[in-house]
Each structure stands twice: as C-alpha cells, then as structure tokens.
C-alpha cells in the first residue's frame, strides 16, 4: 500500500505539470472576481465590463488622467474647442482603424452616440448625460460638432465615458465588440475566460502585453493563490485578509466612499444638532487597521481626493462623544424627539467585514444615547430605500452605502446625492441646489472653486450625512510584471499600464 502510494506520488511529481500553467513571454493572465454577463461597449461604464474592454478594446474621444492629475487628455480626439452656445468641436485623430479593418471617422462617433441613447437598447452610459439633449453634426470625416442642450461645460470630460464603435454596429447588444483600441477580443468562453490579443495595426504605441487572458474566481483567496502559484499575473481585487505578502500585495484607494445616508426630512434628523451628534459619535480612526484595512482614509467628502475641487480644508468630524451627548441633550430640551428609534441599515456583502463595522457603529451611537437598531437587507431592498420616491411615514433611517466616483469630476455625484431633486439626496437645501447648478455650468478654476465650496457647505454647514471612509482595495501583482493600481483600476484596467520586468 505504502509502496504504491509512493509510486503514484513519484509519477505525479514527474509530470511537467508546473510548466503547463506557466505564462508565456508577452502574455498575462488577470484574475477577476466578477464574471461578465455582456461584453457590450455602451455598458463599459459598468465596472465588470469596463475593467476588460474600456480603452483596451473600445476607446473614447477623451480620457481623464487618474495618474498624473493632468485632467482631460486626448485619445481618439486630438483636440477640442468650445464654439459657444453649448457646441463643442472635436478634431478626430487620423489614420485610426477599427479591429475589423474599417477606418474610424466622424460618422462612427455619431453612430456611437445615437446607439447610446437609442430606445432599442438600455445603454448604461447614457445616465451620465441626465436630461442633456445632444445633437451631433458631422463637419467632415475628422471633425464633429457636438451640441448639448442645456450647454454642458464638461462635455470633453463626458466624452471619456462614451465608447466608440463602428457605424455598422447594430442597435442591439453585441457579443463581439469591435473597437479602435490596442487589443481585439479573440475569445470569450462565458463563465470561464476572455482573451484579448494585441493588434499590429493599432494607431498608438504598441503595449508590452501581447495577449491577455481574463479568468474569473469569485473567491478572493483563490484569486490570490493563483497569482502566488504563477497561474495568474494580476488579481486586482483580493481581500485584506488575503493580502499577507508585502512583496506582491499593494493597497490602493478604490474610488468608493462609505457613508451613512441620512434623511433630514424625518424627525429627529431634521435637527442639525442631531446630525452633528451622529457624526461626532463615530470614532472613525478606531476602524482603520482593525475592522477596515490600513490605508483606508477618513472621509470629509463623498468624492475621493483625486476629484476636481476636493477640499483639503474640510476635515472629517472628530470623535467627541461628550459634545455629541451635549448636543443631544440640548435638542431634547427643545422638544426634539431624540429618543426615537433609528434604523442603521446595511447589506451583508457590501464589503468584507461590513456586519462588524455596522455593529461597531451601532455601539458607538448607542454610547452617546441614540436608540439604534441594526437591519441587514438585500441589495434590492436597500436600493428601494436609497432612491426616491421615499415612503411616507418612514422612520429615521441611516443607510450604510458606498458611492463610486472615479471619473474625476464631482458632477457625477453631487446632483444625485445633494440636490433637492437628486434621487438619493437626503437634503433639500436651496443654497446647495444653487451651488450645484453653478458648479455644473462653470469651467476651469471657477468650477473647482464652486465644487470646493459645495463640499465645505454640505459637510460643515448643512451636515447632510455621515461621511465615513474612502475605501481601499488590495491587488496582488505577480513577479513577472510591473503594475501600479490607480483609483480607476476598479472600473478600468488598461493593459497598456502593465509592463514586464
């Protein structure tokens, strides 16, 4: 028995197994936590799809620089200019070819926009344009005028969201995306893997990675193990618990901000002192390095620090339970029903350890005198509570939610979260509305200043919500490659940023 076991073991080890999974030169394997249900360019703003195809297969007219802070950079558009009256002229790059061999021109841009807003398919990217109506006028093959009504001062930035497809692309979701990017999709075995192959006729600089294979493992421990074993080169999102090897594991801000959305239309949250007390009761620093990984940043704004107008002068609320108690006592003396039961509502798979985080916050809030009950709900139930119309007669609720903005401008957050008409806004404040409207319409330094003012106003004066943390992710980077994750890695993973050692 022992002899046969030994023989079997020897036979197994003699097989050249290791080489079967080793990577070839110029090829990388990326292991992602979430599979793709679609590989549709107009859905590339959804992170699971964007991670694979955005700027790899399908490019945009402009791109936002998340690494160097240079703002909006050219991509398929070489330059642009404001023509006045809401019209912007984009001068397109010449000599660009799609992976199917056809030449890129202004008609492709027009078609890509028409497809995005078509009522025949539900393209996610269109939400970034809200109520803005767009009309596109092809001036010549390499020039296009885009008119936005009402005028859209950040139209060049918005172009970084719209992926360009050839004009033959049907008005239906496609499964074989054709783009101008450095890679083309050569294989998609749904649920198993996706392969992108570098194009020899790409207009830009040839990337170091010639072939990339994406595989999907929902268990982060397995993803991390694959990189350790050399079966994969990059796992952009592993859990903090698995990030145990300082040589290969790096943490990075992931563009998500965790906060408690409170609803200031419901008593006793109507009272500013109560909202302040909620903020002062939470010991944010106690979470970092314990329940939340090191590197997590305390938040004073709903947008991460790389965003335009981020205000360094606005400081997160300190932990001051004595002051919180005092504020509550003062409110109570004025007849504010501070003893009302609050519901702290989270969902169990928001991030690893969320239940413990929520329970710790409940304890901290109870310590200063709040009556708090925790509820853990399913994502769809939370979304019903999160978005308007809010239910009549609702109790005071604090939703533990995350907001993602890696797009560089607060416009993608502020209207939704703080305008009176914003779908997830818990406040109705005329001055906030005015600042949002002005900042949305402004350009240049004026725009940055107005966003800064708004960030300070909603945090310090209105006390609109309980901002908690800018969250971090961990990536495991294999020995063969060099790659530094950015705040956008969660939604856009450019293979061109990967080099070989």
């Amino acid at each position: 028995m022992i002899r046969s076991t030994l023989l079997f073991t020897a036979a197994l080890t003699a097989l050249p197994l290791a080489s079967a999974y080793a990577q070839k030169a110029g090829e990388v394997t990326v292991v992602l936590g979430e599979d793709l249900d679609l590989v549709e360019p107009c859905m590339a703003t959804r992170s699971n799809i964007g991670r694979v195809i955005l700027q790899n297969v399908n490019e945009t007219l402009t791109q936002y620089d998340v690494k160097g802070g240079k703002g909006v950079l050219p991509r398929l558009a070489e330059s642009w200019a404001d023509q006045g009256n809401g019209t912007w002229r984009f001068n397109l790059r010449k000599g660009v070819k799609f992976s199917n061999g056809t030449a890129f021109d202004a008609n492709d841009v027009k078609h890509s926009f028409e497809r995005m807003v078509s009522d025949k398919i539900t393209c996610e990217s269109s939400r970034y344009f809200g109520d803005t109506k767009l009309s596109l006028n092809v001036v010549d093959d390499n020039t296009i005028d885009v008119t936005a009504t009402p005028p859209q001062p950040i139209l060049p930035l918005l172009m970084s969201i719209v992926t360009i497809v050839p004009s033959e692309t049907p008005m239906a979701f496609v499964r074989d995306p054709i783009g101008t990017g450095p890679y083309k999709l050569t294989q998609w075995n749904q649920g198993q893997n996706i392969t992108l192959q570098a194009r020899s006729d790409y207009w830009g600089q040839a990337p170091a990675v010639k072939k990339a294979t994406y595989v999907f493992r929902s268990d982060p421990a397995v993803a991390a193990a694959m990189v350790t074993k050399g079966e994969a080169d990059l796992a952009p999102s592993i859990s903090a618990a698995d990030a145990t090897d300082p040589k290969s594991d790096v943490s990075y801000l992931n563009s998500e901000t965790l906060y408690l959305r409170i609803d200031s239309a419901v008593a006793p949250i109507t009272d500013k002192r109560v909202r302040e007390a909620l903020n002062l009761a939470i010991d944010r620093s106690a979470f970092i390095g314990s329940l939340l990984p090191k590197g997590t940043v305390e938040a004073a704004a709903i947008v991460p620090p790389t965003t335009l107008g981020w205000n360094p002068n606005v400081k997160p609320f300190p932990f001051d339970p004595a002051k919180a108690k005092k504020l509550l006592a003062a409110a109570k003396a004025d007849g504010v029903p501070v003893d009302t039961k609050f519901y702290l509502i989270g969902r169990s798979n928001l991030f690893p350890g969320v239940v413990e985080v929520v329970e710790a916050m409940q304890q901290m809030l109870q310590d200063v005198g709040f009556n708090v009950e925790v509820q853990m709900l399913e994502v769809a139930q939370i979304e019903q509570l999160y978005s308007k119309p809010f239910k009549e007669g609702r109790p005071p609720q604090m939703l533990v939610v995350q907001h993602d903005n890696s797009r560089g401008d607060p416009v993608f957050s502020m209207y939704f979260k703080y305008d009176s008409k914003g779908r997830q806004s818990g406040i109705a404040d005329p001055k906030a509305d005015e600042l949002i409207a002005k900042a949305t319409a402004a350009t240049g330094p004026e725009r940055a200043k107005l966003w800064s003012d708004l960030i300070a106003y909603v945090h310090d004066d209105v006390v609109a919500d309980v901002l908690l943390f800018h969250m971090v992710n961990f990536a495991r980077v294999g020995k063969r490659i060099a790659f530094t994750p950015t705040i956008a890695t969660n939604s856009q993973l450019e293979l061109a940023d990967i080099t070989f050692k």
Partner: protein, 303 residues
Amino acid sequence: MPQYASRILSSFFSLALLLVLVFFLSRLTGDPAALFLPVDATPEMLNQFRELHGLNDPIVVQFGRYVWDVLHLDFGESLRQARPAIDIVLQAFVWTLWLAITTIILVSIAAIVIGSLAAFRPGGVFDRLVSLISLIGASAPDFWIAIVGITVFAIGLGWLPTSGTGTVWHWILPIAVLFIRPFGLLLQVVRGSMVQAFGSAYVKTARAKGVGNRSIIFVHTLRNAMLPVITVIGDQAAAMLNGAVVVETIFGFPGVGKLMIDSILTRDFNVILAAILVTALAIFIMNLLIDLAYALLDPRIRT
C-alpha cells in the same frame, strides 16, 4: 409498464406546477431593472428597460406570453446576457452533468467496495477506521475542504492547478471535494445494509454450504443490500445535478448551480425558469433510471 406512464404523467404535472409557481414567486421578489441598471439610472432608463423586456405588462399577460412561448419551445432571452436562456442553461448544465456523473460513479464504487469490506467484520480495526473516515467525510464543510485542498495540493505541493478548467488535472480537486461528503454518507449506508444482510438466514445457509467469502459478499449479499444504497445514490446524484454551488464558485467551474444562484440574485427570470426546467427534467430522468435499477435488482418489484 403502465405504472411508468402514470409516473411520467404525474411528473409532467408536477413540473408544470413548479414552473408556474416559480414564475409568479420570482416576480414577487421585485424589479430586475433596478439591478441591471445602476442606482443613479434615470426613471426613464428604468422604464425603457422594463418596456423592452415586457415587464410593464400585467403579470397575467406576461404569464400568457411565457406559456405560449414555452409551448413553442422558446424559453425566452436572458435579461442580463442578451441571448437565449436555454442556451445559457444547457451550456452550464453540461459542466454540472460531467461533474455529477464522474463523482457519483467514483463514490458508488468506492463506498460499495470499502463499505462491504468493513461490514464483513463489524467492530474490527478496518471497520472502525472506515467509520471514522466516513464520519469526518460526511461532516466536513466542503468550502473548507476546497480551500485546504488548494493550499496543500496546488500551492504547497504544486501538483494540481488551483482552479479553473482546461485540462484533466483541473477536474481532480473539484471532484475530490465533491466526492468526500456523499462518500462518507454512502459508506455508512452500504456498511449498515451489508451488516444486516450478513446476519440473514440465506448467508448462514451459504456459509454452511461452504461458499467462499468473496462469493458471499459480491454475489449473495451485495445484490440484496443494494436497494437502500441505490436510494441514497439517487438522492446524492439529484443534489449534485442541482449544481455544486460551493465547488463551482471556488474552483471557477461554470456549472448550473452557480448560474442558478446568480440568476436569482440578478432576477434573471427566464434563466431561473430554464435552469429549473432542465435540472428538474434531469432529476426526473434519473429517478426513472433508479426505478429501473430497482426492478432489475429485485424481481418482486417487476410484477
């Protein structure tokens, strides 16, 4: 044979009833548009999604349309993947079927051989060892076995790939993990059933007539002890055909169990229905096969 005809008919009605129930119950869980589109999607976008997928129609109209389509063998399109739901399900089901068939064959052979040998000397060293192993096997959580398996065999020893598909080596760890629990369970059943059979009068008679041990185990006893064993094999196989969610999730196997969970979480109604239809049919066919096996083993059932 008439008993099979009525069996098929009643199974057909159960299946139809199940599909009707799932159709209405899944729609009670809420709106798939809210999950397909991000939280800051405009109400117009949400409405457009519902309109495109017929979700704005009264539920009775939706049901009528579904029934009509199913009668024409059209199981609808996936809300998430924009392709026919039945294609998605069949693609995933093939993976599950291979996993289930391979595992259940290995489990049956191993449990029957080892269980019979253990039963031959109840209370002996081998029997006690087998009981301990089967108890551990039947009670160990599979996600734990899977992670330990990866740590030991893929990372530590480097013999096997951590996960994924592609070569025959990729199948070893998932099958080994799937194997352990049903093996532990079946081993106990085989052993119990065999111990009982060994004590029966016909075995004593055979022994008295000088029949050899091997012949007693594999010819006389096993056949009679097989009926409860086949029932348990059937149960275990049915559970596996429903998908091995944990194994599929950890090892990145694109099987029907993970598909079903994902489609429930994303409210992809047509995929849920198609997955239930396919797995229910498979379980129904398997139950028929088990009935046939009963009849084959026990002449009394044939009449």
